[in-house]
Assembly symmetry: C3
Homo-oligomer: 281 residues x 3
Amino acid sequence: MRSLRSVLKRPKGRATTPTLITLTTDFGTKDPFVACMKGVILGINPRARIVDITHEIPSYDLEEAAFLINSFYNDFPSETIHLVVVDPGVGSPRRPLLVTTHYGWFLAPDNGILSYVFQREKTEVREITQERYFRPSPGATFHGRDLFAPVAGWLSRGKKPEEFGPLYLQPITLPLKEPRYTHPNKIRGEILHVDKFGNLISNITWAYLQQGGWEEKLGRIQVRLRGSNIGGLRRFYAEIKEGEIGCLVNSFGYVEVYCYRGDAQRFLRAGKGAEVVLLLK
Amino acid sequence: MRSLRSVLKRPKGRATTPTLITLTTDFGTKDPFVACMKGVILGINPRARIVDITHEIPSYDLEEAAFLINSFYNDFPSETIHLVVVDPGVGSPRRPLLVTTHYGWFLAPDNGILSYVFQREKTEVREITQERYFRPSPGATFHGRDLFAPVAGWLSRGKKPEEFGPLYLQPITLPLKEPRYTHPNKIRGEILHVDKFGNLISNITWAYLQQGGWEEKLGRIQVRLRGSNIGGLRRFYAEIKEGEIGCLVNSFGYVEVYCYRGDAQRFLRAGKGAEVVLLLK
Amino acid sequence: MRSLRSVLKRPKGRATTPTLITLTTDFGTKDPFVACMKGVILGINPRARIVDITHEIPSYDLEEAAFLINSFYNDFPSETIHLVVVDPGVGSPRRPLLVTTHYGWFLAPDNGILSYVFQREKTEVREITQERYFRPSPGATFHGRDLFAPVAGWLSRGKKPEEFGPLYLQPITLPLKEPRYTHPNKIRGEILHVDKFGNLISNITWAYLQQGGWEEKLGRIQVRLRGSNIGGLRRFYAEIKEGEIGCLVNSFGYVEVYCYRGDAQRFLRAGKGAEVVLLLK
């Protein structure tokens, strides 16, 4: 594994490769919020390449943002800059952060939305304090445009993290909802996210099944959602008939309850927080 | 017309022109599905340029996807790679396809979403079988990210279609809803799509009117929607008054019923499947 | 300030910097309208860089479009091309315009959507008449794709504004809703826009407060919305408690009524057109 030091120092040849900057916000796309961020970035670095992750995080929903980040960042090249702005405390003394990892940089307010990143990755955290990089603004309510976007622009042009501010030792983390083995033959978890298809995504992961040695016993697993039996684990959606309910480990590694060609959330009237239990028969 | 062979062989100078890759899915934009596909593509080819067509195909709606593809691909440069992923059978034995045409390449599951492309274009169809190009994954439910995205990335870097798999002779096609002349003076069609403005788009095309020699007699055409008279063909929307219903051949060549500055779907309570009849008076 | 002449003449070195083209429409993203525009632009200039501002302007809403343009264009580099297509009169004799400003070029129908641009910027307005730059089309209902997109493509490749058509002296402007001082201690305005968070954005600006010398007396300002007292001006959202109503000058310079971590529109049942009064106590 490369040291964080090697991430901080950018290889010389990379001027020819445009830097990627991803954007994740709760700003929606009907207002010009996201567009302004892009204008500021491209004004500083016309060669930056910007990828929208989503702007449909529910307003102010830090937990949704934290969970979502978790699912995309390691699919991007390791020198990508990830802006994540869900920021109800904007303008207050809450700190803006610049976090260096092996999977690139994260720019985000210090409110817990990077909790999974802090849990999973080796990180170097800095508070962004150098106001000379900020965009002047008539108000203090849009750090996405006035602070995070210009810092992303300058970072993508080769400025080093230490130029933006000092090390910061105690970033805020949210209490993460973890599954647990309540018995060697029983895992208790819960639904953390409902996707666009109405699939119910739990916090029980493939890695967690492996920890308990369950990967050898997949055929014996039975799934229960809020006490109702869902059956065993499938390999792919089309294993069951249209309108039936099934369960599988999805392509992000989470145990997921689905309705084939239907909407499990609507069909089961279940959503975030619903209890999921896996049993070994 | 260039031969398909000349499309397969890319001109040497093109390394300097970034390759376009378009994305059409039913993934929505609230989850990180599309972002992951982009991360994978850009990890393989940092110079690829990605254009979102839409991610709002109704979940699993193959007919909508097939119809939509039809309306955009020939507006793109002829060496564009079009990814189309509406894929309820993902992970099952349904095949992933790579289709070469004079309008670029299509990557899609073999479930009929390329039906109009097969009907209208000369094509060479291959089954994608070479797993060494795939992204490793904990699950089998996200071929958009794990199979189609990396194949698009490698194709955009100059790999040839034959490197991804063998020829495939019988791709699935959907039964297409075609209009018909029930009499030399009468065409019977139906509404295939309702657009964002509530305009009702039928399957009767300008080309089909020409086949019957009707282009000389435009002034005599009368349109009926579900038995109600809509009047003659207009040239542009503003020919009628606000709130009135009219009909015209739209800029994609389809006969369309609209409400000026209003929403025809709501006003007429008509939608997909409604019968449209054109009469020559 | 540079002369408009210097904007018209592009510096020679700029071939290496990709030109930015922004898109603002009421087309939505479920249909291929926007994608077709992008295909046409990239077919003409493969190096153009396209940024979506929004495609969620309510259908045909010229006032919303005019107001929105106002909030993003000066965050973009000054040689950006801004396409703005909300165009209920498409195909009728309404004119297509090319407007040169110090903040780049605007391409839009002559229906008032550039009203704020005309009010605030020095402009040179041309009617686009040169059909040889247009995309051939079976219909006259999609000038976004058939006229504005190709003109943007050619303009981004270095064609000069005068090549597209003659000067045009009387573009249409909408009656703008301006605030007014009804007394030296009283400003009467109204809500012009409700953003994604339910924040109520008024037409009273920071610049307008300065005109009356109120910037020295911020602590004495009291805000009323439809007669109800909202209190004084805050600096940032988090100054009040969750669910409370407050008011501040937002980062675009507008006086805005908000509900902290809530939705002011829903909470107050107020929207566009609601009266806002500022009083000096």
